[in-house]
């Protein structure tokens, strides 16, 4: 059977991996290609780049990073952030990305999902959903989790699947940065609503949070950033914890 995936996420701004998406305290961590390569060699099952560049030059640099990554990294990788048009999707896939993730653009123009899926296949279309608890429901948030679209996150996940998304990257705005574990309730709700793989994101503070989400939900993958970048834990440590708890994992 298909192994659960452990995915480090790299936020890239103007060609450099940075910590945090806020302007305050933004810190450069290193070269994206080098970091992706290191993660792939130490057991990452996939890499996700999120381009948070503010400029066109920055986004052009991302295409170059994708080309170099395609040459040097031997695991699949996804690129998201700033994907607005089918041309953006085409450019990133042609540069060698395995998948492209779309977030706000898919909310504003759901046809983009359909178009990308029809042209390149569902396997390379990831729809990223930032969800925040509002009463008994979750709302889709955009603009880094700050703008409420009033869209129901569960309904939106179903819509994304119907339109041809091959995967959902689900970030809980509520648990993101809290380091107290994934949002199990949200993850469970979305996993049950769709038949495509879901990647859980937001809230990892220690390796044990991965087996927790894998055992409590049928999620396909878990994503984390800071615990890997700050060398708090390696991918291998996370995988060892998962294997010890009986999760089906590709050995690092």
């Amino acid at each position: 059977m298909i192994a659960k995936r452990i995915i480090p996420c790299l936020d890239v701004k103007e060609g450099k991996v940075v910590k945090g998406t806020n302007f305050v305290g933004l810190r450069e961590l290193g070269d994206p290609v080098e970091m992706a390569s290191n993660y792939s060699k130490t057991g990452a099952d996939e890499i996700i780049f999120l381009d948070i560049s503010a400029t066109n030059e920055g986004r052009q640099t991302m295409v170059e990073i994708v080309k170099q990554t395609a040459e040097q990294v031997f695991v699949p990788f996804t690129v998201g952030g700033g994907v607005r048009t089918i041309d953006d999707v085409t450019r990133l896939l042609q540069a060698g990305a395995d998948k492209v993730a779309m977030n706000s653009a898919a909310v504003n123009n759901p046809q983009l999902i359909t178009e990308a899926s029809d042209r390149f296949g569902a396997q390379c279309v990831v729809v990223a959903i930032d969800a925040k608890r509002v009463g008994e429901k979750w709302h889709v948030m955009t603009h880094g989790g700050t703008k409420d679209t009033d869209l129901d996150a569960i309904e939106w996940a179903k819509e994304a699947e119907k339109r041809g998304a091959g995967e959902i990257l689900l970030t809980s705005v509520d648990t993101d940065g809290v380091k107290d574990g994934f949002d199990i309730t949200l993850t469970e709700a979305v996993v049950h609503a769709v038949r495509i793989p879901v990647i859980a994101s937001g809230g990892v503070g220690k390796p044990e949070h991965f087996p927790e989400v894998f055992k409590k939900t049928d999620v396909s993958a878990g994503l984390a950033a800071s615990i890997f970048h700050e060398n708090t834990f390696t991918v291998k440590q996370v995988k060892d914890v998962c294997i010890n708890q009986g999760v089906n994992i590709r050995e690092a």
């Binding site: 059977m1 298909i2 192994a3 995936r5 792939s40 060699k41 099952d45 080309k67 395609a70 040459e71 040097q72 990294v73 031997f74 695991v75 699949p76 896939l93 042609q94 540069a95 060698g96 395995d98 296949g121 569902a122 396997q123 091959g166 038949r195 495509i196 793989p197 396909s220 590709r250 050995e251």
Partner: protein
């Protein structure tokens, strides 16, 4: 020199790097002269069977590829592996290269398609060359699978149904997964292909 057949079906940057890391010169080419000069032929591919057959025909590569497969080690990757068989049923029926007897049809499983992700290899027919890869994870992305005789199976994966992972007929090999996306294990698998075809020049049947 290892030649990667360039026929417009997908990015092959990491296939190239993988072979370069194993110490080989690599060319990405659709020139018949260059393919003939190569020691090994690699047929990659992402997309649909029918579209790939069309691209191959437009470049008049079908006959040269069949001939090259008689002469030198040949490896099809992902869609490139599917093209090794007689027929494909994706977007209508089209003829493959006919290098391994069998057909390519949609995967019949209760699991979701495409079959995407890291799945484990089960070594078939007590294959010794690939024995070390038993239960190793490799990266699959596909919705169609080969249907062939047991004797051509080197490895399979379980996805609610048996999915051929590695197939072989003499020095013609196919890998349904992406070795170039399968980490170190993938590169090791390419190494075994190179070693096996070095020592073993069995003709295809």
């Amino acid at each position: 020199m290892i030649a990667i057949v360039d026929y417009g079906m997908g990015n092959v940057a990491s296939v190239r790097t993988a072979f370069e890391q194993l110490g080989y010169e690599v060319e990405i080419t659709d020139s018949i002269d260059r393919l003939e000069a190569a020691s090994h032929i690699i047929l990659p591919g992402v997309g649909s069977f029918q579209a790939a057959v069309q691209e191959i025909q437009e470049r008049n590569l079908a006959e040269p590829l069949r001939k090259l497969a008689q002469e030198k080690p040949f490896l099809g990757i992902c869609l490139g592996m599917q093209l090794l068989f007689d027929k494909g049923y994706e977007n209508g029926v089209s003829d493959g290269l006919g290098l391994i007897p069998g057909e390519v049809t949609r995967i019949e499983t209760t699991y979701i398609l495409p079959h995407i992700g890291w799945n484990q290899l089960q070594i078939e027919n007590d294959n010794q060359a690939f024995a070390a890869f038993q239960e190793k994870h490799v990266y699959f992305v596909h919705s169609f699978q080969a249907r062939t005789a047991q004797k051509y199976l080197v490895a399979t994966a379980d996805y609610g149904t048996q999915v051929p992972g590695i197939v072989q007929n003499g020095h013609v090999y196919g890998m349904q997964f992406h070795p170039e996306k399968s980490g170190e294990v993938g590169v090791e698998l390419l190494k075994v292909f190179l070693e096996e075809t070095k020592s073993d020049r069995r003709q295809i049947v």
